[in-house]
């Protein structure tokens, strides 16, 4: 019996689950926890520690603890937002080959997919322990607006962890699947996913077992981390004022303030004011200080207003993109820890003129959807798996599959059909500095289009096609994706050759390009190296360093 894992690989927290005949079963940590911090520590004592146990090293040796790796995976180190995010972490990141970020901890250099593979491997091993069976197949979720490079890097992380990644699905789509699976609904919903590092909002139409994403917008650099940083900056100024030491250049000190800020933030979601002190702040020169604080909810809201407004602006934008009126939406799902902030819920209610749905578990619903999709892809799925059967959700160390005593009943629910969308317009450079759009943003995937090209000079044997991502008509206003190279063409007068290029975005949201010479029928697999993406797969899956204590 094969078991397929659904994994929500989050910026802050990761969750894994499997679909069982009685419901979704979560993979638990050593302390029975369902939510696993996406934190990887390389402590001075040696080894690699992942998850809840890794968190405690954040205070003692912050430079050896990697967190929020999702903010850098598949990114170009030189992107300004990456540079900004780097100011919020205390571990060392340098630029590697193909401009990809590399983490340097002590003498180890690791790519971001390698870092994330530690989290995936941790979950895989926990699943194997819990289920008593090897686990290989997985569905991993990604933010809907993740780019090609980020998706490829996430797949690479899975491969390095020894997983066979059957599919990447978008986080809001996974949440919608968990919400609507087996319910046979006809309705339009919005999914507002505001997590630790990324923000997405999707509009979906549910038509029986078909889940069609009408439009999706987002910002992969907007999340709870930013809110923590806003508050930590204020705390840092206050500490500077009372201690006359600027804490900003001091890694351990800032980390403590960030962690304090996160706690204050969470407290303010339930209370009007937070008062107390942050103790044990080790100032340079051996002094230890205590920072008293008193923050009201209103003060905190003022600090984060710009970020929250940005999520609402994107939400209004997605409604325009889907071409629908907010009143057509019959449910608004709140997903991600940052939707617990009352200000976020209030503003959402204003846009949609209805209270958002907060009855679903914002931390777990994405993994639940991933598990359902994983079960569907391997065929082990029954209607008892969705939210409708929430009461039947299996828990701690109770796995009918593992014991092999319960045989799976025939599939009773129709398998879900996910119609996800292309995250960004793909276009090519044409003469005069313009672009030709090939695959629209928000088009359903998988999708394929082909275009015929010709040469512009006599006897030209090589053609380069620049590809970009973005919505502008002018090439240089978009983000370059890379150059597609067609080589060894037969020498002909200009305009004589007819080269057909096929562009396909697969169901994972990843671009593939293929070219063929129409006259000779000769095929060329065109290669496009996306900047920031992992450079050609490195080594076998055994590349994962040991994570034993």
């Amino acid at each position: 019996m094969s078991v397929a894992l659904g994994i929500d690989l989050g910026t802050t927290n990761s969750v894994a689950a499997i679909a069982t005949p009685t419901g979704v079963e979560f993979i638990l940590g050593a302390r029975g926890e369902r939510v696993h911090p996406s934190v990887i520590a390389f402590p001075a004592s040696g080894g690699v520690v992942v998850g809840t146990d890794a968190k405690r090293y954040r205070l003692s040796e912050p430079q050896h603890v990697v967190h929020s790796a999702k903010r850098f995976i598949g990114q170009n180190t030189r992107a300004p937002l990456v540079q900004l995010a780097l100011t919020g972490v205390r571990y060392n990141v340098v630029e590697g080959p193909n401009q990809q970020p590399i983490v340097v901890v002590r003498d180890r250099r690791m790519t971001m997919p390698e870092i994330s593979s530690h989290v995936l491997l941790h979950l895989k091993r926990a699943a194997e322990r819990q289920l008593g069976t090897p686990v290989k197949d997985a569905v991993i979720t990604v933010p809907a607006n993740f780019t090609d490079g980020q998706r490829q890097a996430t797949r690479e992380a899975g491969r390095l962890a020894g997983l066979d990644v059957m599919r990447l699905i978008n986080e809001p789509t996974a949440a919608a699947l968990a919400y609507g699976f087996g319910q046979d609904r006809e309705q339009m919903i919005a999914v507002f996913d505001f997590g630790g590092g990324t923000f997405d909002v999707s509009i979906l139409q549910l038509d029986g077992e078909v889940f069609e994403v009408l439009a999706s917008e987002g910002d992969f650099f907007l999340g709870g981390d930013d809110l923590d940083r806003a508050l930590a900056e204020n705390l840092a100024s206050e500490l500077h004022r009372i201690s006359r030491v600027d804490p900003r250049p001091h890694a351990a000190l800032m980390m403590k303030l960030m962690m304090g800020a996160e706690q204050i933030k969470m407290y303010l979601s339930d209370s009007e004011a937070a008062e107390g002190e942050i103790e044990g702040l080790d100032l340079p020169g051996g002094r230890v200080s205590t920072l008293p604080f008193s923050v009201t909810r209103a003060q905190f809201e003022a600090m984060i207003a710009g970020y929250v407004e940005r999520t609402m602006a994107v939400t209004r934008q997605v409604l325009v993109a889907a071409n629908i009126d907010p009143r057509m939406i019959s449910d608004v799902l709140c997903v991600g820890g940052s939707t617990r902030i009352p200000m976020v819920r209030q503003q959402l209610a204003e846009i949609f003129r209805r209270e958002p749905n907060i009855s679903i578990n914002p931390d777990e619903v994405v993994a639940q959807g991933a598990a359902i999709q994983a079960g569907s892809l391997t065929g082990d799925l029954t209607s008892g798996t969705g939210m409708g059967a929430r009461d039947a959700v299996a828990t701690a160390g109770h796995s009918p599959l593992a014991r092999g005593t319960i045989t799976l009943p025939e599939i009773t629910a129709k398998r879900p059909v996910l119609l996800d969308v292309n995250p960004a317009t793909l276009a090519i450079h044409t003469a005069g500095g313009f672009t030709e759009r090939l695959l629209d943003k928000n088009a359903p995937i998988p999708i394929e289009r082909s275009r015929v090209f010709t040469t512009s000079r006599d006897n030209q044997t090589r053609v380069e096609i620049d590809c970009c991502r973005g919505e502008s008509r002018r090439y240089t206003d978009n983000e370059p994706l890379g150059t597609l190279l067609l080589d060894d063409l037969p020498p002909r007068p200009r305009g004589d050759l007819q080269i057909e290029v096929q562009f396909r975005v697969d169901a994972d949201g990843i671009l593939h390009v293929r070219a063929s010479d129409l006259a000779s029928g000769q095929q060329q697999e065109a290669h496009l190296q996306v900047l920031g993406a992992p450079v050609a797969p490195a080594g076998p899956a055994s590349g994962v360093p040991d994570d034993k204590p």
């Binding site: 077992e209 325009v320 398998r415 088009a443 998988p446 394929e448 010709t454 502008s472 206003d477 978009n478």
Partner: protein, 184 residues
């Protein structure tokens, strides 16, 4: 007939007719509306979505079905792109036009490709600006969508104030100002 041979026959039909129109691929009458296109596409998805056949088809067969399905998706998207929109949304450079352009003409002659790619300087993309500037920029974008040109000019100026280096912002401002000048 089995679901397996049904989907294979369908896929062969779609792939065999290279110059079929979008409506023909979706098997609906020419000139059908968006609702009909959506219904037709959902019907195809229920039958032919590659995920449903992952375990029952050979690799070659699955590739065939995926290609046919991916072309049907393109046909659906083409019809969606043709819907008329009442709100007039103008894209400024680098900003997603929120709605696909109305019946964008496809050039009859294939666009010629320059012989050698000019290496692109990094730093042109719209997101290559400070985070504060980006927030103002997005506000400008919203103002434009509302048709509020003066509002957009104001927000773009704020954006430039927070990121004076950005050429991109300056050219966006110039464009919007040109638009304002054109209006009475």
């Amino acid at each position: 007939m089995s679901a397996r041979s049904d989907v294979l026959l369908w896929a062969q039909r779609v792939i065999g007719r290279k110059d079929a129109t979008a409506c023909q691929i979706l098997d609906i009458p020419a000139g059908s509306g968006l609702d009909a296109a959506q219904q037709a596409f959902h019907k195809i998805a229920r039958m032919a979505h590659p995920d449903l056949h992952r375990r029952t088809l050979t690799a070659d067969e699955l590739e065939l079905v995926t290609t046919a399905y991916a072309r049907a998706a393109a046909a659906y998207q083409e019809l969606r792109g043709q819907r008329t929109v009442t709100t007039r949304i103008r894209a400024i450079p680098g900003v997603p036009a929120a709605v696909p352009p109305t019946t964008q003409a496809i050039p009859t002659a294939p666009p010629s490709i320059k012989a050698i790619a000019v290496p692109e300087e990094p730093g042109h993309a719209p997101n290559k600006m400070g985070s504060k500037a980006l927030i103002y920029y997005r506000k400008a974008e919203l103002a434009l969508r509302r048709g509020d040109l003066p509002g957009a000019v104001l927000q773009l100026k704020m954006a430039i104030a927070s990121d004076p280096q950005s050429q991109f912002l300056r050219s966006a401002l110039a464009e919007v100002e040109a638009e304002v000048a054109r209006k009475p």
